[in-house]
Symmetry: C2
Subunit: 261 residues, 2 copies
């Protein structure tokens, strides 16, 4: 069943209220009581805030949208095997190393897909207190301000954002992409990188990502006429990891061609 | 002749007033009338704002400190061959590609050295409107707020910032430094990178730089107990390019050892 624009606006407003509370709690915890641990390896950090935020968000989703399934990073979600119905994606702290060490360039991300179609996405830049949010039915906003479709610069005309680890270890042809771009930057987190592409600061971004890393960014980017795919130009699998590429039309073509060659 | 603390505070306040005007003019020009050209190659950008800012700053310095010499980027300075007396360093837009393309992560930088000794430095984060300023006689401030000496994390415990172009082309052992660090980031400009080291967000930063790129950062970093040298651990030549390294004591030792091996 398709949702009306009014229903979608109501969901958007509800999640914005959740994020308003989460922003304050996350800043306070960052300054006063951060406990840092590791997951798969010494560079894969997790904190008490990642876990607490995910538990809070997932509980809010479950009481708001009782039949929904949740795909989330820290283990408090479901593990759906299909994209039918309402599926929410939650990244409670995107860019945990930046959160812990740099105290900037991290985000909280939420997305809603219905029957595998992108409906709404939210990327909260926690330190600047700006939420990038919206979807195909309502457009994209930075807080209250509508974001216009970015320009269509080519790879050679713009800055590209890449995963530092993959570039360093020679993966996915990232060195060729970096050399062909006007310049490249390594931000170290998906949300802040998606924000820069959405706002036209960068012409593209690529990294290997899990669904909670790209779900919200994909909603916002596609709504603004950007291309989101895997690095070969194929549609993303919403339930597994992908080598994600988001870019302007021209930069997307440049990067996919470079990757094939 | 040594300057008193009061004289130094007066110079600091004077330059802060200059920067207050420059901040407004630079933001306005970025939004409304940016003309972009290139210098040595297609990635070496220069704008009308780089040139106008340098002419303004140099004129202010010349009327304020009549016997001083000026080392600046865009050709309106002197070309001193010695560091005796008052020498000012001016970078009218540090990170011009970021200024033009990303509209963030760029700076205006000014520094004063007297008889080759660091006296005062100013790094203006233009978009956030924060000036990092001070020197050994007065300490370091972010606007009015005093900055404390950052911690002494090692390379393996922290984020290191590197020049993207030099890393990409395998120069200066940057790949080994990146691999040994907890993580690395590429910001694309010296001022914003120095700010992250000074505030403890990163444990180190290295790039090949001209004097106007590192003069202000060196004053602030040394005042806060950080180590500034070339990548071999030697003192910087203030009148030529250097492979600059600024880092915590422990990360500095880690990086110099890696570079030698």
């Amino acid at each position: 069943m398709t949702m009306s624009q009014l229903e979608i606006q109501n969901i958007d407003q509800t999640v914005l209220l959740w994020l308003d509370d989460l922003q304050k709690d996350t800043i306070s915890a960052m300054r006063h009581h951060l406990q840092v641990g590791t997951k798969h390896d010494e560079r894969d950090l997790v904190t008490n805030v990642d876990k607490a935020n995910e538990q809070k968000i997932n509980a809010l989703i479950r009481s708001f949208d009782v039949n929904a399934k949740i795909v989330s990073e820290e283990g408090f979600g479901d593990k759906p095997t299909a994209m039918n119905g309402h599926v929410w994606f939650v990244d409670p702290i995107d860019g945990t190393m930046n959160f812990v060490k740099e105290h900037t360039d991290f985000a909280i991300m939420i997305a809603l897909y219905v029957d595998n179609q992108p409906v709404l996405g939210w990327i909260l830049d926690v330190v600047d207190n700006v939420v990038y949010h919206g979807g195909p039915k309502i457009g994209v906003f930075a807080n209250q301000l509508r974001i216009q479709q970015p320009g269509d610069d080519s790879l050679a005309e713009g800055v590209v954002l890449l995963s530092g680890a993959r570039l360093l270890y020679g993966m996915f042809g990232y060195d060729q992409i970096a050399k062909a771009a006007l310049g490249y930057r390594v931000i170290g987190a998906a949300g802040p990188s998606f924000i820069r592409v959405i706002t036209g600061q960068a012409v593209g971004y690529s990294s290997k990502m899990m669904p909670w890393d790209f779900a919200a960014g994909q909603v916002l980017a596609k709504t603004l006429g950007l291309i989101v795919s895997d690095i070969d130009g194929q549609a993303l699998d919403m339930l597994s990891s992908n080598i994600v590429l988001v870019a302007t039309k021209r930069a997307h073509r440049d990067i996919v061609e470079l990757h094939k060659s």
